[in-house]
Amino acid sequence: MKRLVAALSFTALSLAAFVAPGQSGAQAQPAPYPHKVVTLVTHSSPGGGSDIFLREMVKHLGKYIDATFVVDNVSGGSGARAMSKLATSKPDGSIFYAITPTYIYTSLMSKPQHTFRDLQPLAVVFADPEVLYTRADGPYMSVKDVIEHARKARGRFGVANPASLERQAAERLKNAAKVNAAVVSHEGGGDLMINVLNGTLDAGVGEIQELRAQLAGGKVRLLASFTDQRLIDFPDMPTVKEQGFDVVVHKFRGLAGPKGLSPEVIAVWEKALPLLLADPDYKKVYAQESLIVDFRGAAAAGRLVDDFARETESFLKETGVLK
C-alpha cells in the first residue's frame, strides 16, 4: 500500500513537473521590459526569408516579453542600410536586427560604413540547413555521382547569389573533392531552380525551406545536407561529410542589437527565447520549415559570429573575392 501511494505520488509529482513548465510558459506573466515598443529590423523585403522569420516570431513573442513588437523592413544594400540604422541607434533594447550570414558577407565584401563589428549579437535562435539537390529525373543519385561526373567532365554547381553561404558551401565542396567545376551564381532562387530543373546545372545548393514547393511536387531530389548531423525530417538523406567531403556550413538565424546592450536587457531575452522555442504553437511553425533549434545566448552568439566572420574572410581571400 505504501509503495502504491509512493508510486502514485511520484507519478503525480513527475506529471506536475512535466506539466508545470508548459503551464508557466503559457500562463505566466510576460517578463517586464523597459520599452513598450520594440522594433525588429530586417533587410529582407516583406515575404522574404528573414521577414517571415520575424513575423512568425512576433506573433508569439508577446507572451514572453511585455512589449509590442514591430517589424521594420529596411531593405537595400543587402543589409548595409539596416546595419547603419542599428549602429546609429541607442543600445537600450528598443531595436534589434534579424541576422543571418548575409550581414557578415555584406560587411566583408561591400565594406559599408557600418559593419557587423558595430553590432552586438543578442542570440542565435535557429540554424537553416543547407542542402545539395538535383532534378528528380536527372542521372545523379548521390553526391558521389555529381563529383564523379565533375571528375570526368566540367561539373556545374549552382547557387542563388554570389555573396552567400551557399556559394561558400559549393566552392568548398569543389575544393574538398578536388574537381574542376563551375560554381555559377544567379539572381535569386527562381533563376537557379530553373537551371537545375532543365539540366543546365548538375546540382544546386540551397536552404531546404526554399525547396518545399519542388519537393512536394517531386521535382527535385535531395542529395546531401551540409550539416553536422542528418536532418530529423529527412533521416535518409546523408550529410556531405558522411559522403567523404568534409564540408559543414552553419547558416545561423538570430538577433543583434547596437553595441553596448545592458546585461538586464540581454537577460530578459536569454530567458524568453528558450520559452518561446518551447511554445507548442511556435514549434509547429518552425518544424514545418525544417529549422533546427540552435539556441545560443549573447556570449556564445558573439563567439559564433566572430568565428564565422574569420572563416568567411579567409575563404573570400582564398577565392580571390577579397584582396
Binding site: G76, P162, V184, T200, Q214
Partner: protein, 497 residues
Amino acid sequence: MATASQIFTMLFATPVIPAALVGLVWGVIGGALPGLSASVTMALILPFTYALDPVSAIVLLASVYIGAEYGGSIPAILIRTPGTNSAAATVIDGYELKRQGRAGEALGVSLWSGVVGSLFGLFTLIAFTEPFSRLALAFTPMSYCALGVLGLSIIASLSGGSLLKSLAAGLVGMMVATVGIDPLSGVNRFTFDLPDLLGGVKPIMAMIGLFAVSELMRQSGGVDLGAQAAAGVRIVFPSWPMMKRLFKPQGIGCGVGLMEGLLPGGGGSVAAFFSYNEAKRWSKHPEEFGKGSVEGVAAPEAANNTVASSSLIPLLSFGIPGSNSAAVLLGGLLIHGLIPGPRLFEQNADVVMGLYVGSFIAILAQIPVGLMILPACMWMVNRPRPVLAAFVFLLVMSGVYSLNGAFFDVALVMGIGFLGWLMAKGGYPFLPAVLGVVLGPMVESNYRRSLLLSGGEHDIFLEDAIAVGFFVAAFFFLAYSLWRERMDARAANLKEA
C-alpha cells in the same frame, strides 16, 4: 455544373468580391504613384493579408498586381512619368498624345488595352498553365543572353534619327547598369565606397530621371509657362473602328507579354518595349509612332497587363516567380501555408479557383474604376502649369525617396534628370538608354554565366537552339533597320535634290 455552383458560392459567400475591388483600387493608386512599383504596392498591403483567409489574401494581392500594371500608365501619359517600370514604353506615345490634347483618348486606349491584356493573360493562366510551364523551363542562361541581345537590337529601329547617337545612348545605359554588386563574383563595381550605390541604379530611377525630371527642367526653362494646351477632361473610350484598329497591336502585346511573363527576369518592362517595337514594325502607320500613335499605347499596355497573369504560370506550377511582383505573391502564399507547385492544384483547388474568379472580377472592375479615377487625374494635370510642375516635382521626388528611404536616390535621380536634359538638347534619344539599363544586366550576367558553364567556350551558344534562333532574329532585325534607314536617307536626298 459543380464548378458553376462552386463559383457562385465563392462569389456570394466569401469576401472574394470586396478583396478584388479593394486590391484593384489600391493597385491602381499605387501603380499611378511614381516610385511605388507593382511589387512595392503589393508588399505594402501584404501585412494586411495576414489576418485574412488564404483565398481573400491571394485574390487581394493578385488584384493589386492587375491594378498596378494598369495604374502605371496614368502618370506615363499625363506627366511623362512611368508609374511602374513596365509603363516606360507607354510614355513615348502616351505623353505625345497628351501634348496634342488627346489625353482622354490615350487614357481610354490604355484602359481598354489593359483589360484586353489582362483577360488574355487570365485565359492562358486558366487554360494553358501546363504546356506553357514547360516552355518556361526550356530557357537556359544562353537563351536569356540571346533574348537580351534581341531586345537591344530594338535600339537600331528606335533611333528615329541618328543611329550613332542612339547607340551612344544605349551604351551609356548599359554602363550605368554595371554599377553595384557584380552579379556573378559579388565584387563591388563603380560604387565609390558609397553604400547607397551597392544596389545599383534601378531602372525606375533612370526612367524617372530621364523622362520626368528632364521634362520638368525643359518646361521650367520655357517661356510659355502660363500657356496650357486646351484639353478636354473627358475620357474617350475607344469606338468600334478604333477597337478594330487596336486589335493588332493588342494581339502583339498579348503574345509578347505571355512569353515574357513565363521567363523569370523578363518582366513587364522588357515585354512593353518589345511589343512597342513589334507593333511599330507591323503597323500600317509606323510613321505615327513616337509622334502620338494610339497603337504605341495599346501594345505595351496590353503586354504589361498580360504579364500580370502569365507570370503566375511558373509561380503556380513550379513555385518560381516570373517577376518581382510574383515573388511578393509567392511570399503571400507561403505566409498562408500554401506551397505553390503541382500539388497546389490538387490540395488547394479552392485557392486556385478563388484566384481565377477574383482576378476576373478585378479585370472587369478595371473599367468602372478607371473611368472614376481618370477624370480626377485629368483635372489635376489641367491646373496652371507652374502649379502642376511643382506638384509633379514633389510627387516624383517623394516617390523616389520612398523606394529606399534614402536622400541619395533623390540626388541621383536629379543628376540623371540633368543628364537627360543635356541628352535632349544634343538630340540623343532616351529610349536606348533605358533599354540599356533594363537589358544590360540580363545580357551581361547571362553571357558570363554561359561562359562559366562552358569553361570559356562560345560553342555553348550554338548548342542552344533557342539562343541560335534569337541571335538570327536579332541579326535580321538589325540588318533590316540599317537597310531601311539607308533607304529613308536616300529618299530624303532625292527629295532635296
